[in-house]
Amino acid sequence: MSRTAPDPEALLSVRDLEVTFGSGDRVVHAVNGISYDLAPGETLGIVGESGCGKSVSSLAIMRLLPKPAARVRSGSVILEGQDLLDLSDEEMRRIRGDQMAMIFQDPMTSLNPVLPIERQLTEVLETHRKLKRSGAVDRAVELLELVGIPAAKNRLRDYPHQFSGGMRQRVMIAIALACDPQLLIADEPTTALDVTIQAQILELMRTAVTERGTALILITHDLGVVAGMAQRINVMYAGHIVERATTDELYGRPRHPYTVGLLRSIPRLDEGRGELVPIQGQPPDLSRQIIGCPFADRCFNVLDRCREEMPPLEQAPSAADEHLVACWNPAEGERLVPSGFESELAS
């Protein structure tokens, strides 16, 4: 997979992306050569625990990593046939907000506190669509109505602090969707919200991307959130994609011991028996050289070979659809959660 040419059908092709932080004797290897494709209109979930590289890899795609702390060492990010990593800052600026946009984790701090939300919406439209002020304002009202802000027209002049967290996230979504991007990246969009609002925001995002045919990358550590949203899921660990499969296949027959561990640690309402099984140990220190599989020390299926050589991401044996796993000794693929789990979590 990692050496294959970019798929011409794909909207986005990431190849061998490698990102490091710092320099000198303390270099943190945050993303270690990941590759994947995203079809137009597809929703891809990226899951993994904190520090696994899921946010960093997405910021690298947007080219929003802090400079000069972070460095993209190698790889390519091909959006509609052009490699984003080759573009100048100015060319990249024209693509951001127009062809691709991003929604961030914390809606409380992601809107400019001194600007009315009207200006934050119209500025995107003026930047990319060359709309006149009045046209941009009309469009801003439409967008706010689309994301379900009541009495949108009267709220244009309001400042972010006059909105609740959920409403602010709706405004963020409106800003991100303003120019109809083909690709939307949502980095933990519901983590900072309370549970009832989470469901509303996810529903809003689902309808918005389905209606417009927008491709969505949904980054989360919450397996419940992706279950009902994504067609395909990448599981990341220590800067690698360790498993990639369709949602049904991943929840139905998880192969990587890490994915198995994640699914076992989800609390279930209907099964009173048994304790949750946590994954033993800690994720590895990414500033050290890791030989072999980074999950080896925590793995229940570990072999000697795992400590010598990193397994490539390859088609899992006897899997139906595309089901890639980076493991020398993958699990059998037993169902850990009853079928129907995905839709139940999403509801």
């Binding site: 100015e90 951001r96 809107l111 001194v114 400042y159």
Partner: protein, 296 residues
């Protein structure tokens, strides 16, 4: 008069309470800011209406009536030349406030431009500007001001420029620091993520959020400027015409007669202390009002 009439303004009030509205409301609740503001307004009115308040021409002396103690005729007494101290203090506020405001305006403007360039562009621009700032900050402020005045001359504008030069590196450093902290702010990254860049990012998203500490420092710098102007006057580097009323010069004219006529030093001293206190209290009140951590 009650029901409907009351409910409408409440609705109005909830709208459009921006950053400044919020800050202003909180300043009204701070005793320090109110007292400081009142003192400053008092001095500003005094400076504006000086010709109407002052009972005598501040420059005209009468050697026959020098050294008079405070009385109903001369509230603050008279000095060696027989000039009315009360009138001189009132007119002196014009010069002092004028120099303070002018020097801080120049200092903020030049300092902000340098700080914004350094904080936004980074790299060699930043390094060059900030090393210059370091050098200037290593020279004692008053010494630098004395050097500039002796180079440029002793007019009010020259004094203002001298004090401004002392302030420039302070403002540059503050704005650069705020901008650096904002580079990684969530809303700045969010603005970048939809293609905002260049001047719009700096002017619309970063500067308005970085300006709070600058305003606080500017108010506090007004206090320092009053002291600096008085110090220059005291050292004989004030306005060249000795008849011009200037608080610092009034102090230095009289310290030799301190044992005989305390009032000559007392009243200009009080004026300087009050003006400095007013600006400092106002600055502290603003610091609290503009502190983003305290904002709701």
């Amino acid at each position: 008069m009650t029901g409907a009439a009351v409910s409408q303004p409440v609705e109005q009030q909830e709208r459009s309470v921006g950053l400044w509205g919020d800050a202003l409301r909180r300043m009204r609740g701070s005793p320090a800011a109110i007292i400081g503001g009142a003192i400053i307004i008092f001095f500003v009115l005094m400076a504006i209406f000086a010709p109407f308040i002052a009972p005598y021409d501040p420059t005209r002396g009468d050697l026959g009536s020098s050294y008079l103690p405070p009385s109903g005729e001369h509230f603050f007494g008279t000095n060696v030349q027989g000039q009315d101290v009360f009138s001189r203090i009132i007119f002196g506020s014009r010069l002092t406030l004028g120099i303070a405001v002018m020097s801080v305006t120049i200092g903020v403007t030049v300092g902000s431009v340098l700080g914004a360039l350094a904080g936004y562009f980074r790299g060699w621009i930043d390094a060059t500007i900030m090393r210059g700032v370091d050098i200037m900050l290593s020279i004692p402020g008053l010494l630098l001001a004395i050097a500039v005045v002796s180079w440029l001359g002793r007019g009010a504008v020259q004094i203002a420029i001298a004090i401004a030069i002392v302030n420039v590196p302070i403002f540059a450093r503050i704005l650069r620091g705020s901008l650096l902290a904002l580079r990684d702010a969530d809303y700045v990254i969010a603005a970048k993520s939809v293609g905002v860049g260049g001047p719009a990012l700096l002017l619309r998203h970063m500067l308005p959020n970085a300006i709070g500490p600058l305003i606080v420092q500017a108010t506090l710098a007004l206090a320092t400027a009053v002291v600096d102007a008085a110090a220059l006057g005291f050292l004989g580097l004030g306005p060249p015409d000795p008849r011009t009323p200037e608080w610092g010069a009034m102090l230095s004219d009289t310290y030799r007669y301190l044992t005989d006529a305390v009032h000559l030093a007392f009243f200009p001293g009080i004026a300087i202390v009050l003006a400095v206190l007013g600006f400092n209290l106002l600055g502290d009140g603003m610091r609290e009002a503009l502190d983003p951590k305290l904002r709701r």
